[in-house]
């Protein structure tokens, strides 16, 4: 293990990849508590969830049920107060901020609720920034970005800035970015909330096709029960608990 970040020195190569051999996510008794002045708020209450390597899970529940907290812990954005979290075979339960930053960069892909791109980067650069922040492989990253944009039907939009793209196109670029680092797990937080119904369904079809064709695990957080039809199963949450 690398002393500085607790990960292997060469970027997880000493860990067997989760794809094809084990779960992409294991969460056991994960708990997140926020201390208040004279009490505490339990945002996630002993949650247990396992997402297999090529599984697509819909995480459903009302606002404040803990969906985003669960996803944030699974993605290394938040640390659990207690419990065990394993992503792609790496136990991140006790990781500090620097180690979690690396987890987000190398193990997880994110598509957030709002359309989420860096406004001063072109579509292609929004994908390449993932490589720039991490391994800086150069030519292989450029080839991968071009391939992803091609597959997402955005090859002719590669040089466009986000402001020059439609909502659906921006969401597709965000999906491409989430796949750029060849993640173990992609987390979609309300990926269709900013889109109309027809475009939302089309984007969900695209997400399902991309995840399944690559054998990548995904969690899709949603309020919308219609979204669940694109996933392998649904997990319901309420009051911070996985039901």
């Amino acid at each position: 293990m690398n002393e500085q970040d607790g990960l292997t020195g060469d970027g997880f190569t000493e860990h067997a990849p989760a794809q094809g051999w084990g779960p992409a996510l294991i969460m056991e008794k994960a708990r997140k508590v926020y201390p208040m002045a004279d009490s505490e708020v339990v945002a996630l209450d002993d949650a247990d969830i396992v997402v297999e390597a090529d599984e697509m899970v819909a995480l459903v529940g009302p606002s404040g049920s803990g969906k985003t907290t669960l996803c944030s812990i699974a993605g290394g954005i938040l640390s659990p107060t207690s419990g065990r979290v394993v992503v792609g075979g790496v136990d991140i339960s006790t990781f500090g901020p620097k180690q979690l930053t690396r987890v987000r960069r190398e193990l997880v892909g994110f598509v957030f609720q709002s359309v989420n791109l860096v406004p001063f980067l072109t579509a292609r650069e929004n994908l390449l920034v993932v490589d720039e922040l991490g391994r800086r492989t150069g030519a292989p990253a450029r080839r991968r970005a071009d391939q992803l944009l091609e597959e997402l039907g955005l090859a002719d939009r590669a040089k466009n800035l986000p402001g020059q793209l439609s909502g659906g196109q921006r969401q597709r670029v965000a999906i491409g970015r989430a796949l750029m680092n060849d993640p173990e797990l992609v987390l979609f937080d309300e990926p269709t909330s900013a889109l109309d119904t027809k475009l939302g369904m089309a984007v969900m079809e695209l997400i399902r096709d991309e995840m399944k064709s690559r054998g990548i695990a995904a969690i899709v957080v949603t309020h919308d029960e219609r979204i669940t039809q694109f996933c392998d199963r649904s997990v319901h949450m309420e009051d911070g608990r996985v039901l």
């Binding site: 954005i77 960069r105 994110f110 993932v130």
Partner: protein
């Protein structure tokens, strides 16, 4: 570098305007530095660049050369002091002079004329051309006035009276009271005075130039002379220039201006990047959420600050180099390398320090904000 450069490329106008603003401020600072030094040199350059190490005024002259009059008994008293090796009388007056080299219709100009008894005790210290005057028909002018009809070989005429002097040398930075200045021998001065007013007697010296005795420093000689009589006011050459009436006030005024500019450049840079950081907080939050180390984002910010400051400094110094030549209202301007180095270092450090507020904002970004939508860019 990737993020810093891409952002700057996509916001050329915004960053270009900041670089221009920094460049303009740098130019103004350097230009005013030259103006201050040029102004002070025009005021007192003849004192700083005369050859006597120590000057002695009469106290009631308030360190104004023309207002000080040294009586013969005071001259004798100073000459007898063991700290003094030699005394040279110096006199100074303002004459109306016509620079004949400018043609028949040349306008007469008010000119400071300094008469020295001994060339090494009140004569010009640094000659940039020619030689010191050797007879009553010759003078050395300040090199700043060469283009105004005071070049070597030019003839000037003292009005009224018509005594003519030929310029035989040029002294570096040797103006007095922001006027053309001539160094002449004591006898020449007396002749010029007589030319203007035949009834004028022999002039008393306005100051004494002192050569300290061997082993006596200028400071020791000053102390010894000042102890002789309350009527004597001895000063080292540099002090005579620095403590001339008005010099401190000019320096103080410019110091306030420089202080303001010294704050404005870092303030402008710091505020610009703070505003930019606030504006792009959603993008920075997104980048943190997808695994950008905070240190990488801070490095990107500092690269932009360095480019803006570097560009602004190059632009400002370039403009200064192009325009800080010639004269403004008789005040000579020149490119001052030391001032450039000092200000480049000060402004670079100040700019980088001011950018630390933005860096702090970047370090405070919580990637969790990306999940709430608060920090996610569209």
């Amino acid at each position: 570098m990737f993020l810093a450069w891409k952002e700057m490329r996509r916001a050329k106008a915004r960053f270009g305007l900041l670089i221009a603003a920094v460049g303009l401020l740098v130019f103004l600072i350097l230009f005013q530095q030259s103006l201050q030094n040029g102004l002070l040199t025009s005021f007192t350059g003849a004192l700083r660049n005369q050859s006597a190490e120590v000057l002695v005024y009469r106290t009631d002259g308030r360190r104004i050369l023309q207002a000080s009059v040294i009586s013969p008994d005071l001259t004798e008293m100073v000459g007898r002091d063991p700290s003094v090796a030699a005394v040279g009388r110096i006199t100074q007056g303002t004459f109306t002079v016509t620079p004949l080299a400018l043609g028949a219709d040349a306008e007469p100009v008010e000119t400071s004329v300094i008469g020295f008894e001994l060339p090494d005790l009140g004569g010009p210290r640094f000659l940039t051309a020619g030689r010191v005057p050797e007879n009553t028909e010759e003078a050395v002018a300040s090199d700043a006035d060469a283009a105004g009809g005071f070049a070597v070989g030019d003839v000037v005429r003292i009005e009224p009276g018509g005594k003519q002097l030929t310029i035989v040398g040029l002294a570096r930075d040797a103006q007095l009271n922001v006027a053309p200045t001539l160094f002449v021998t004591y006898d020449t001065y007396r002749a010029a005075l007589a030319s203007r007013n035949p009834d004028a007697g022999a002039p008393l010296p306005n100051a004494l130039g002192i050569r300290p005795a061997p082993g006596v420093t200028a400071g020791q000689a000053v102390a010894a002379i000042n102890a002789l009589s309350p009527e004597l006011d001895a000063l080292t050459r540099d002090d005579a220039a620095e403590q001339a009436p008005g010099v401190a006030q000019v320096r103080q005024s410019f110091r306030v201006i420089f202080l303001l500019y010294g704050f404005v450049v870092p303030l402008v840079t710091g505020l610009f990047f703070l505003i930019i950081t606030f504006q792009k907080a959603p993008a920075l939050t997104l980048l943190r959420a997808i695994g950008a180390p905070a240190s990488r984002l801070v490095a990107s910010l500092l690269i932009q600050v360095a480019i803006v400051l570097g560009g602004g400094l190059v632009a400002g110094v370039g403009l200064y180099a192009a325009l800080a030549r010639g004269r403004i209202g008789g005040v000579p301007l020149r490119f001052e390398t030391t001032a450039v180095i000092v200000w480049v270092v000060l402004l670079s450090v100040g700019g980088l320090i001011s950018a630390l507020f933005s860096a702090r904002r970047v370090l405070a970004i919580d990637p969790y904000s990306a999940t709430t939508g608060a920090g996610v860019g569209r």
